[in-house]
């Protein structure tokens, strides 16, 4: 019976393949779901939550998902009880045998980094073929940690002297203040802890970063985040910066709104194999995986550094000052006014 069900599941998984990025199947890894801390979902509910998480755009454009509940730890039961069964299934079904793309959002970035670091060893030890992950598309990635998680963990320990606005900001973000016994993946999202988890996976999978700088919380949460942020994650994390800090852009030469000007507080060094791709001022943390165009988008990697320190960059147009005294030069991605950031990426790969 179990075998029969497994075969049916395998067939469903295989035949449900309905979209691809650059010809490769797509695997989704979602982010932190604050309500999980109180509801503590398990089993089918975790899967249902995962399906709802991606329904705005990516759900119907993916071949599989790795769903996990936020009350668990990444290296603990997220890995053993949720990621591992799916990794085995993907290996057995051969979905990634010829290559696949992993699309992540928020904490899914950190979960995926841990998977990238370990999946080959785990699957080989189980006598299975490692997944051939070609690239990851990381939307609002939280792999460099989330300052709000540090603050939430502290407030969970008692809020006798905590700033009132901070409590409001955490309530806006999470809908609740967690209890000390119910922190779950927030522990992994603390900046120190996140930046110590699987720092440099052996597999050199390119990690493409798509970053917003809007907010769903009227900027209230941003007051507690360094530099630019998307209302939840600071740019040091979403851009993939090699250190935590206050950064105003993922680039040294272009601002979040596309303005071409030197960004003295732009990120200059990134985590290994992390590449900023697109930025936009108008997209909030959740809007980056939605299907609504919020703002125009700029190329975040108009200048990249080779690993040997040399740089390469777009040719920008010849600077023409003319007689105009006041001027500003912008670089924006074509068609970004009418397409969501996710749609733009998906269409480019179609």
């Amino acid at each position: 019976m179990k075998t029969w069900l497994g075969l049916v599941a395998a067939v469903l998984l295989t035949t449900s393949a309905q979209a691809a990025v650059g010809g490769y199947p797509v695997i989704l890894v979602h982010g932190f779901q604050p309500d999980n801390l109180a509801s503590r979902p398990t089993g089918h509910q975790v899967s249902t939550n995962g399906e709802q998480y991606w329904e705005a755009f990516w759900r119907d454009r993916a071949d599989a998902r790795i769903d996990w509940p936020s009350q668990e730890r990444i290296a603990g039961r997220v890995a053993s009880d949720y990621a591992w069964p799916k990794l085995q299934q993907l290996s057995r079904n051969g979905i990634c045998a010829d290559g696949c793309i992993v699309v992540t959002h928020s904490t899914g970035d950190l979960v995926t980094r841990y998977i990238l670091d370990n999946q080959a060893l785990w699957l080989q030890n189980a006598g299975l073929q490692p997944l051939n992950i070609v690239a990851t598309f990381d939307f609002a990635g939280a792999g460099g940690g989330v300052e709000l998680a540090d603050l939430a963990v502290n407030v969970a320990g008692g809020s006798g002297l905590i700033d009132t606005t901070l409590r409001l900001a955490l309530s806006l973000w999470m809908g609740q203040i967690p209890s000390p016994a119910n922190i779950g993946v927030l522990n992994d999202l603390r900046v120190n802890t996140a930046r110590q988890l699987a720092v440099l996976p052996d597999d050199r999978v390119p990690r493409l970063r798509f970053v917003g700088a809007g907010s769903d919380f009227q900027g209230i949460t941003g007051a507690f985040l360094p530099g630019e942020d998307d209302g939840v994650v600071a740019s040091h994390s979403s851009c993939g910066a090699s250190r935590a800090g206050s950064f105003d852009s993922c680039s040294r030469t272009v601002a979040f709104n596309g303005r071409l000007a030197s960004q003295s507080n732009g990120v200059s060094s990134f985590m290994p194999y992390h590449y900023p791709m697109l930025m936009s001022e108008g997209y909030s943390h959740n809007a980056v995986i939605g299907d609504v165009a919020r703002d125009e988008v700029t190329a975040a990697n108009s200048r990249l550094s080779y690993q040997n320190g040399d740089s390469l960059q777009f040719a920008t147009y010849e600077e023409k000052r003319g007689w105009w005294v006041f001027g500003a030069n912008y670089m924006l991605v074509r068609h970004s006014a009418n397409n969501s950031m996710s749609a733009l990426v998906y269409q480019a790969a179609d």
Binding site: G22, L151, T193, D202, R204, S264, Y306, G327, Y330
Partner: protein
């Protein structure tokens, strides 16, 4: 007089605005030119009448997403010219140069006050002690106490009363051999009749293996080989990562090797590809990070330590190394091909 002042102020505003707009010009182009680069729109935001005069011309360039992928493909191709076990290290690679930094997080308190728990590093090895500081600004606090607990079980491990010095509160607690895993550093204090607890996470480990020596480097093809001797107390898959520096402490490369090691004496051989050895030896091998990796999901990562913080490597000449360039493996070539495909070529 008022008219003169108005003119001077106007000139000042104009000058400041001009400076703001143009003082930091975009760097001159040097690398691949996107296909669509001509200004397609000139947007004028002008106040047609009445001061203050603000005339902004917005030049907008349109680029294609494939241009980003083209640049990315070039950067990734350059990464692949080095072996994964021998990656160039730059002064900006802060996370790799200082992999054990503790990043303090400041917590905002009432009335504009704030408090920060600070530790010297993130990962500690037995028998190291743990030194904890609390910095508070804008609030007089008292009854400051420290408690270390096991993060997984929440079992209290150690307590101490923190003592006040000039600008902070501090306490040092001795480590114990039984501590193995993530710990919570909890600091509680009182102010204005209310109690507050702050916490930070660290990792404490009783080392499961120790780097005891580094042998004389040798050569194999285009690699400088660096044998590292270990004493292994818990068999498993070990990953050793170490930074290679010039003798005058310029970073050269981060070297990585993973291997299954049995209990007892073991050896891991780090390799530095000739392409990262931009300077002749001697070299320094430093920042050693020894991990016992989880063999199955759910197993914790454990850590080893090193008898010395750094090892000097006597290398008399690189002439014995061949000049073969590194060839990426099939999966890496496929990744590059994907990026090139996204770039439209």
């Amino acid at each position: 007089m008022k008219a003169k002042l108005f003119v001077v102020m106007l000139l000042l505003i104009v000058t400041l605005f001009w400076w703001w707009n143009w003082s930091e010009p975009v760097p001159t182009a040097v690398m691949p030119r996107p296909e669509v680069q001509q200004p397609e729109k000139v947007h004028q935001e002008a106040a047609s009448a009445g001061p203050p005069v603000r005339l902004t011309v917005r030049h907008t360039e349109r680029t294609e997403l494939r241009d980003s992928f083209r640049l990315l493909a070039q950067a990734y191709a350059e990464e692949l010219s080095y072996p994964p076990y021998s990656r160039p290290l730059l002064p900006e690679d802060e996370a790799l140069l200082r992999p054990n930094d503790f990043i303090p997080q400041t917590v905002p308190l009432i009335e504009g006050a704030s408090a920060t728990v600070i530790l010297d590093k993130y990962r500690f090895s037995y028998p190291e002690s743990v030194y904890v500081r609390l910095e508070v600004s804008g609030l007089d606090v008292y009854d400051v106490r420290l408690q270390l607990t096991d993060e997984v079980t929440d079992k209290p491990l150690q307590t101490a009363v923190m003592q006040r010095s000039d600008r902070h509160w501090a306490a040092r607690v001795a480590g114990e051999a039984s501590w193995q895993g993530p710990l919570l550093v909890k600091v509680s204090f009182q102010a204005k009749g209310r109690k507050q607890q702050l916490q930070a996470g660290i990792f404490y480990s009783n080392p499961v293996a120790t780097v005891i020596a580094v042998s004389e480097p040798g050569s194999a093809g285009s690699d400088l080989t660096i044998p590292v001797k270990l004493d292994v107390r818990q068999a498993g898959y070990y990953r050793l990562r170490a930074n290679l520096f010039t003798a005058d402490r310029q970073p050269l490369a981060v070297l990585t090797q993973t291997q299954y090691l049995q209990n007892g004496s073991g050896e891991l051989v780090l390799k530095a590809h000739k392409s990262v050895l931009s300077a002749e030896g001697p070299y320094l091998l430093t920042t050693l990070l020894l991990e016992r990796r989880p063999a199955i999901p759910g197993e914790p990562t454990l850590y080893g330590d090193s008898a010395q913080a750094e090892y000097q490597l006597e290398v008399h000449s690189l002439s014995s190394l061949s000049n073969e360039t590194w060839q990426p493996d099939e999966q890496e070539r496929q990744r590059l091909q994907f990026l090139q495909q996204m770039a439209g070529g």
